[in-house]
């Protein structure tokens, strides 16, 4: 009788584990093919936290390259070298750490592991904080791309090769007149691509590793400059910046990133734009 009872209870397994499921559809996105998200003009900001001593960061960088190819012109990527793995090696040509990067790490929170990225500075449902591991980037990027932008940002710049002076003009145009823009700020970053320098990789230290999207400088304060009051009063505002490049930066590899975001309780990014000089 006991054996019968045991088998009866074991029988409970059948409804627990039965029935065949219908799986999701996977559509591998080859670079350059149009992605399935709608074609709003939303550009998503990705702030990746990295370091030259972070062994997994090259894989994170490769992911960002893939994502950039899958969503051409729709991602503004900044690689911020800050935190435990960012101390340069004795043989490093550059110290990629910046005061702005340290400020952003404190502002957005320390990740559990590197590489990590903050996407549009949003705390997504079910997540413990703003920092997201590599596996979560694509899903949340898609989610953000599907949103309508609240602003249009137009970026124009000029660069003098003789004086190495950059002049950047940022025009912010309000698209949503109903929202309260009191706490809105503008941040403008310079990032440099393809910098050959030392990096720890799973195969060991590589001295000619090509670092991508490295944050070089914030033209605004690291946590942005207030533009909310002006945007309440007028449908558009303009901010201009002038900056002289250090001699060891390659201007032709640099890009400007501007984004409009909230401040205070939430630092959510409402729209971003990226542009070469």
């Amino acid at each position: 009788m006991k054996i019968v009872k045991i088998f009866l209870f074991a029988f409970l397994l059948i409804p627990m584990f039965s029935c065949k499921e219908i799986g999701p559809v996977i559509t591998s996105l080859a670079p350059g093919t149009p992605n399935p998200v709608n074609m709003r003009n939303r550009v998503v900001l990705i702030e990746e936290f990295s370091g030259v001593r972070c062994v997994n960061c090259p894989a994170g960088s490769q992911d960002l390259e893939r994502l950039s190819a899958a969503y051409p012109g729709r991602l503004a990527i900044v690689s911020i070298h800050a935190g435990f793995f960012s101390n340069p090696y004795p043989e490093s040509r550059f110290d990629f750490r910046t005061p702005e990067g340290n400020g952003l790490l404190n502002l957005l929170g320390q990740p559990l592991g590197y590489p990590s990225a903050v996407i549009n500075r949003r705390k997504f449902e079910g997540e413990a904080d703003l920092q997201l591991g590599r596996a979560q980037w694509p899903g949340f990027i898609e989610q953000e791309l599907a949103k309508a932008p609240a602003f249009d940002i137009r970026l124009s710049s000029s660069f003098s090769t003789s004086t190495r002076e950059l002049r950047a003009d940022v025009d912010i145009v309000r698209l949503d007149n109903s929202a309260n823009f009191q706490d809105i700020r503008l941040s403008v970053f310079i990032v440099e691509n393809n910098i050959a320098d030392a990096q720890l990789t799973p195969e060991g230290k590589r001295e000619d590793y090509l670092h991508k999207y490295v944050l070089r400088k914030a033209l605004t304060a690291f946590d942005g400059s207030p533009v909310g009051t002006d945007l309440q009063a007028a449908p558009s505002v303009r901010r201009s910046y002038v900056f002289t490049f250090p001699s060891n930066w390659k201007a032709e590899s640099c890009r400007l990133i501007a984004f409009v975001h909230r401040s205070g309780e939430s630092w959510e990014v409402l729209q971003a734009v990226e542009k070469p000089f």
Binding site: I26, F84, G109, Q110, P111, Q136, P138
Partner: protein, 574 residues
């Protein structure tokens, strides 16, 4: 009549319902008199820690919110249990203020009900609702447990039923979602286990068996699946796959006891599902990168343990083979988060400071591990312990090897001497993701002397030395190099204990800090503790300088940065 009123922001209705049941069902039963007359019983315990951070950038205790600006962080757990009329109720208040337990480099604050449950045995049927801690077999397919040093709390929030078929056979079934701090993960987990005990009457005392079988299913939530699909969509086509919502794990286990021999055997299988492989190689755009990538694989696990114990002799031999046996509430979770199962560690759990510096964390993706432990006593004075562990990848590459020898000599009732030596080979490149570093090798002799001067006064002295191998490429000792550790402890029974210790980087290695001239520093990591115990209350105050390292608790390891500051803790039970 006892009045019991807690007002907490964010506490769910269910908790208030439990509290109400406690109050109504147990009204008038909280007094000692009622307790004696068979009424309710209240018990509980408190654990609280306060950390005062003192920045020391030289040892790496810097650049976290606590060192930079917060200066203080603390945690507390207040557990209350109430039993009455066959019901058991539990309620736990968790408080985290700028705590660095969740993420050692970040700060976490939150407070609320971290655990509640209602339990009732109705004849043969056991019912428990709320936060459930349980495991199937050794935990290979399911273990809901708590490890506070790492803020690991994998309680299942849901319902658990058990049914006693007879005194020797029990069936358990549960369903719920895994706890995530004060919230919950979305994936649904359910399971069933049958556990029994067989001991034929005529052979009673000669042999017995404790067989069991378990099955666990996890259904991925839509949000996690959408996120996973979006990630897989970015993979080159050769790496893409169609992920499963449902993953199932099964295990069968048995303990056979024959006389002084005990043999535990467990085999587990997990259906094909998406999991993160931290060592996957991915080729794209002409470049190949090693690192995290989702793979779609089934998993297997075999574990066996054979023990023989008679008089003063004890022998244990263990073996474990793991192949893609990651089982998490969602594949995006990493490190010690979202784990549904627990894979037992297969190396000795060392307690001495230097001997426990390097630990072999379980490799979920694949490992083959053996361990042997031999204990023997001669008379009352001598005890010997030999322990050996060998862990390799499935392809045979060495991950960890340890040989541990210990001799214990008692001198009457007053003195106790322990001496021994440990040899370790530790694949730091794999365990700590430090590529290019050679296999770390250490020799670590140790000595402990304990002496009771009188019934009230006693002292303890501890000394360890760790010699690391040479890193030929760096022309330096491996990792942090050689260490010397000394500790003196003095006890005034029954209340006071004072302890002083120092961990000295006597031979700095490749990763030891350097001064402005580039010369390796000879750093001290001192520690001073005062412990005070009065009845069920324990207090401790410590000044701590602690080197960074991999800290393991219950088989789960993570990298912990250096610590510098003062720690104060209070524990109590009532």
């Amino acid at each position: 009549m006892g009045i019991f009123h807690i007002r907490l922001k964010g506490v769910g209705r269910a908790v208030w319902a439990v509290s109400a049941i406690v109050l109504l069902g147990g009204s008038g039963s909280l007094s000692a008199q009622d307790e004696k007359s068979g009424g309710g019983h209240v018990s509980g315990n408190l654990q609280s820690n306060a950390n005062f951070f003192m920045r020391d950038s030289l040892i790496g205790a810097a650049n976290t919110p606590q060192y930079d600006r917060q200066l203080y962080g603390g945690e507390a757990w207040l557990n209350l249990n109430y039993s009455n009329r066959g019901f058991d109720f539990g309620l736990r208040l968790d408080v985290f203020n700028n705590s660095n337990l969740l993420n050692p480099t970040d700060s976490y604050s939150g407070e609320g009900i971290g655990n509640w449950f209602v339990r009732k045995q109705v004849d043969k049927l056991g019912i428990q609702a709320g936060y459930i801690y349980d495991q199937i077999g050794s935990g290979a397919i399911f273990r809901a447990y708590e490890e506070r040093p790492q803020l690991l709390d994998n309680a299942l929030v849901g319902l658990r039923l058990s049914y006693d078929i007879d005194p020797n056979w029990q069936v358990r079934a549960f369903t719920g979602r895994q706890k995530q701090q004060f919230g919950m993960y979305r994936s649904v987990i359910r399971g069933l286990a049958v556990d029994g005990f067989i001991s034929p009457r005529r052979a009673k005392g000669e042999w017995s068996m404790a067989p069991g079988f378990g099955a666990v299913g996890r259904t991925l939530d839509d949000l996690s699946m959408n996120n996973l699909v979006a990630t897989l969509n970015t993979y080159p086509s050769q790496y893409a796959f169609v992920p499963k919502y449902n993953a199932f794990a099964f295990s069968a286990y048995n303990t056979l006891s024959v006389g002084n021999l005990s043999w535990y055997l467990e085999g587990a299988y997990k259906t094909r599902e998406s999991m993160n492989d931290p060592f996957a190689t991915t080729a794209a755009n002409g470049d190949t990168v090693t690192g995290d990538r989702f793979v779609n694989k089934p998993g297997t696990l075999f574990y066996t343990s054979l023990s023989y114990a008679v008089d003063r002799l004890g022998i244990t031999v263990e073996a474990k083979r793991t192949d893609h046996f990651t089982f998490r509430t969602r594949p995006q979770e990493q490190l010690n988060r979202g784990m549904i199962n627990f894979l037992p560690p297969m190396a000795r759990v060392n307690t001495y400071r230097l001997n426990s510096r390097y630990n072999a964390a379980t490799q979920e993706i694949g490992e083959m591990a053996f361990q042997m432990d031999f204990r023997y006593g001669i008379g009352k004075a001598w005890k010997f312990n030999v322990n050996g562990a060998n862990i390799t990848k499935l392809n045979g590459d060495l991950l960890y090897r340890e040989l541990f020898l210990e001799v214990q000599r008692k001198f009457g009732l007053k003195g106790n001497l322990i001496a021994g030596i440990q040899r370790q080979e530790y694949n730091q490149a794999v365990y700590e993701f430090k590529p290019g570093v050679p296999l770390l090798q250490t020799w670590a002799p140790f000595l402990e002397w304990q002496y009771s001067i009188s019934k009230r006064y006693s002292y303890r002295f501890e000394m360890q030395y760790m010699r690391t191998g040479m890193d030929e490429q760096a022309k330096a000792r491996q990792d942090y190099g050689d260490w010397l550790f000394g500790a003196v402890e003095f006890s005034l029974a029954p209340r006071w204990t004072f302890s002083l210790s120092d961990m000295f980087n006597v031979g700095p290695g490749r990763n030891s800090p350097v001064d402005a001239t580039g010369k390796k520093r000879l750093l001290h990591y001192p520690r001073a503790d005062v412990f005070y115990a009065v009845g069920p209350n324990n207090f401790s105050l410590s000044f701590v300088k602690q080197v960074e390292g991999v800290v393991c608790t219950g088989g789960i390891c993570r990298l912990e940065p250096a610590f510098s500051g003062i720690k104060f803790s209070v524990t109590s039970s009532f």
